[in-house]
């Protein structure tokens, strides 16, 4: 931690906490006799902290709350439940996702308007911002932390940037037929310095190997099913699973055996049933994997599907309140928390994995848009868009664990612990 701070602080203390010669020169241009004694490192540190870092700060328990209408994000401390700073000027965040650098110093925010913003969590400031497309949906960070990939709707494709400078490294148009580009969804990182993503309009999954950044290598899997709307990577980085909107089931790519191609999970589930309307597209994230089980939102059915990862068959369809949007397992996989599309979006349901049944329902407030577990799952933070609040629950007692935090129309909560997870 100290190292992090030292590296960032422009202060350049040597480890013995004495200022170096150059700094003394800057501080005491007229020589330092009669000025402060150099044996007062606290005062010096204060004077030197141009960016107001009064106290050393660790970033491993920080996070970002996105404020969808204000182009802002709040930096929060998840242990102390408090806001540390507000970062402004982030563009259209009506849909936004965040990834973190592996040193957990930087957060990369992907906005709706194609904006890619790099936020410095140590210094509470926007380090860099570019607008790289007209309309985008998400992003990922590479295995080695050096590349940032963004998935775009308009123009459809993936762009890869250097994580430090945000300079363009590769531009991959999602051209699936001459002159036709698809919206790209479900972009994740994968082992071997790869990215994997899906083409909504084409029904394809592509893998992008960036081992040699000058020569991106693409492999395409076609006819994977109609309208993949989002995808997830299993926590070990082996299975890429895309949810389908236009057809039944999910598309599965085993990265350990890509020669086997993409196969369909639950190809006939609900095929002939009348679909209920879907007022918000569900999201898929690696959190949906709990041990040997995959918990997935059904589409047009008010169910959470429990799929056995050993043979990819349906173990159970758990009836829930509405159209599930996020289906997230607590890190220890004992509970799965579910939120819903409107008009059921004031509620949360909790599935006990031991019984594979809904055991609790919470009604925290208006428009539950997102939730995020603390790294080991003792608490969960919940964004209430229309109440301008974030609620923190104790996941064991289901009681509120802290006073509610104020946030303007919060729509996403992202903790820096994501930095070390494959697929986030």
């Amino acid at each position: 931690m100290n190292k992090l701070l030292l590296a960032s602080n422009n202060v350049g203390w040597a480890d013995d906490r004495k200022p170096n010669k150059l700094m003394l020169k800057m501080l005491y241009p007229l020589g330092h006799k009669g000025f402060l004694s150099s044996a007062q490192p606290t005062i010096l540190a204060l004077m030197l902290s141009f960016n107001v870092l009064a106290e050393p700060r660790a970033t491993g328990d920080l996070g970002l709350i996105i404020e969808r209408e204000d182009s802002t994000a709040l930096i929060i401390n998840t242990t102390e439940h408090k806001q540390l700073a507000k970062i402004t000027g982030l563009g259209d965040l009506s849909h936004a996702t965040v990834v973190f650098s592996r040193d957990q110093r930087y957060a990369y925010v992907f906005g709706r308007d194609g904006g890619l913003s790099k936020i410095d969590l140590l210094q509470d400031q926007l380090a860099k911002r570019i607008v790289q497309a007209g309309n985008s949906i998400g992003g990922a960070i590479s295995q080695d932390g050096k590349l940032i990939a963004v998935s775009n709707y308009e123009p459809g494709g993936v762009k890869v940037f250097a994580a430090d400078t945000l300079e363009l490294v590769a531009d991959i148009p999602a051209e699936y037929a001459p002159g036709k580009r698809s919206k790209v969804v479900g972009l994740v990182d994968a082992p071997g310095q790869k990215f994997v993503f899906s083409l909504f309009d084409a029904g394809e999954i592509w893998t992008l190997d960036m081992k040699n950044p000058q020569k991106p290598a693409i492999a395409k899997f076609k006819n994977i099913g109609k309208e993949p709307y989002d995808a997830l990577m299993s926590p070990e980085g082996r299975f890429y699973i895309a949810g389908l909107f236009g057809e039944s089931g999910l598309a599965l790519l085993d990265l350990w055996d890509t020669a086997a191609g993409v196969k369909r999970i639950l190809p006939t589930y609900g095929k002939d049933d009348d679909k209920l309307p879907v007022y918000k597209m569900p999201h898929l994230e690696g959190w949906a994997m709990a041990g040997d089980l995959l918990f997935a939102p059904a589409i047009g059915k008010h169910e959470v599907l429990v799929i056995n990862k050993r043979d990819w068959t349906l173990l159970k369809a758990i009836p829930v309140l509405g159209q599930p949007v996020f289906v997230m397992a607590r890190p220890d996989a004992r509970q799965v928390w579910v939120n819903f599309a409107m008009p059921d979006n004031n509620h949360l349901q909790i599935i006990d994995v031991k019984d594979l049944a809904v055991t609790n329902m919470l009604t925290p407030g208006k428009a539950v848009l997102h939730m995020e577990f603390t790294p080991r799952g003792e608490q969960v933070w919940v964004a209430l868009r229309d109440d301008n609040q974030v609620v923190v629950y104790d996941t064991a007692t289901l009681q509120e664990a802290a006073p509610r935090l104020a946030a303007q129309h919060p729509n996403g909560i992202f903790f820096s612990s994501r930095a070390h997870k494959i697929g986030f």
Binding site: D113, N135, P343, R385
Partner: protein, 104 residues
Amino acid sequence: MIKKLLLTGCLIATSFIHASQAEPTSARQTELHNLLKNDCGACHGLTLQGGMGPALLPEKLAGKPDELLVTTILEGRKGTAMPPWKPFMNRDEVVWLVGVLRNR
């Protein structure tokens, strides 16, 4: 003050013009505006520039008849991600909403 009076005057005038068309109450208008921003915005973008669903900006809708748009919103479009909104609003409200989309 004068500005405010003028504004009120305008509002009254407008409501006379549309009197036959049962405009939603102002409270309902606020609700519909929020719905447009939040719920339609989830697919069409907060600023309606498009997302998974197409952009709903005036120039994009210019060539399309009201009836098509009203029916699309009320009934949804089968085989696409556009859901039917008639459980949440009536025809008059949708007609008003299409007006909002066109005038932006």
